[in-house]
Symmetry: C2
Subunit: 336 residues, 2 copies
Amino acid sequence: MRIAVDALGGDRAPREIVAGALAAAVRLPRDEVFLVGDPTLVEPEVDPDGPPNLSLREAGGPVGMGEEPASALRARPDASVAVAAEMVREGEADALFSAGNTGATVAAALLRVGRLQGCRRPAIATVLPLTSPVLLLDAGATVMCRPQDLLNFAILGGVFARRYFDLEGEARVGLINVGEEPGKGNDLSREAHYLLSESPGVRFVGNVEGREIGSGVADVLVTDGFTGNVVLKTAEGVAREILAMLRSAMAGGPISKLAAGILRPRLRGVRDRVDPENYGGSFLLGVRGSVVIGHGNSGARGVENALVGLSRTGAGLAQTLEAALAAAHAAAGNAP
Amino acid sequence: MRIAVDALGGDRAPREIVAGALAAAVRLPRDEVFLVGDPTLVEPEVDPDGPPNLSLREAGGPVGMGEEPASALRARPDASVAVAAEMVREGEADALFSAGNTGATVAAALLRVGRLQGCRRPAIATVLPLTSPVLLLDAGATVMCRPQDLLNFAILGGVFARRYFDLEGEARVGLINVGEEPGKGNDLSREAHYLLSESPGVRFVGNVEGREIGSGVADVLVTDGFTGNVVLKTAEGVAREILAMLRSAMAGGPISKLAAGILRPRLRGVRDRVDPENYGGSFLLGVRGSVVIGHGNSGARGVENALVGLSRTGAGLAQTLEAALAAAHAAAGNAP
């Protein structure tokens, strides 16, 4: 797989991005990694004795975190994320990674890489790191969805999760809702429930309540981008809060400190299991290439994990997703 | 305050409900607690030497957890929750508590107690037990909301939170959304943001993302009943999962077990802080009386805490809420 990395996107770019890309290139000797960005900024961070499958691709500067994405991309067509997207469009790369301005990455992907046929709107797919990891989409690309969008997300998410989690059979898809019964929910979730249950291309396991999202009842959870974004951030916020409460609860008194010291490695294990850096990024599904959106504060470890996970999904993902959409729409008798 | 308790509602009724009501009556000597239900079921649980402010009110049996609320209430107008609601309607009680079928409690409240003037739809207000407890509404009464509903929830929640949390000044109200900027979100959240920021009756602190819900930036969080229900259940589910991960991480090896034993009281403190039983119930706001919906599996401690919290909000809550709605609508130049 050939991966174009926006070397200048992210709060800790270029240093941490370059370090993560280097570590990934070492772990993925059969893949090719391109560091895309202004050479005067990127080159000083690159080890000249780095692996042979890591190379530089000249571009301009980054799109800043606070910039309005569309106008920034119009004003600076050589921005690092835009050039990385261009490489995917031109077939020089299979995938694009950026930890920069999320809106700019989504806009560059939509404008330069383009949408899959049969997919009105893209979705951000992200792994919730709970007891049973589960792929949540949409985590925020399309805040207002139609029922058909949720069906598309189910098809894309199902195919993707099977590769990403290396599942034996079809991925089990659940719909986030406020109750288990089919009649529960708002107009969108009720209509989506019907579409999903009627679609032969989806292994639909029914409605899933917030309480069950990490319980292993589904491999994929679909919802609109508003709800998905709120679910993701609530889960992250609550996890962080409880770990902080535990830390401060164990802080007082010499005996407690000793006991906490003994348990620290085990507690660290829990913290690491729920750490978003384990996955390092989210996937933008519905575009004609693999696009990974890293956390804004990605460190080298997050970048490395994101690129390794990306490599697992393989080149040609977009074609497979497009074929799955076409098959599902044909089976449902819909025009794509 | 006079509180009508549905003695037969809940998985552990009547025993745990009666025990909790008794404990609350002892703690609240100036309040009056009525146990409402079929005497053949309730009486055997009641201590004949109980406090003088606890008495029995005859009614029929419960509405079962699996029953369709409206038809159950039509078929059995003497159901315990219906009689408790009737007591509020007739002015014999100020408040109603039920840990039974939530739909039946909401239906009984809407049909028998009635809505506040100026409030199209009610909301379920619930406390999220995080580092900074925050009142979330709507947690599921109205899954499809209009922007004006969210403004009403902000007014109701603001007045309620000030009493419930015993705040010095006006409660700070946030809007759950996918970004901090005013233009973020779906149609509902964008329009609600505008209404809230224009309303002089609301101390609006802007959009709040899922990550910040427990961080103390707001005393009240408003959203539609679909999103609120998903947020509540996600928060509960993630909290439970992380505590379970910690328990199993600390289980192995004799030294770890010893250390875990030393820390157990402190860890229990964290578990207790995020335990929903601390609050014991949610409030149905927007009806002409105080209505508390207990958890289905409420034990005596949850019932006791719910009744003590209810007592803190005082009699006359409904009138105060109605006046606040009228004032806010008048200030905004709206007809109520």
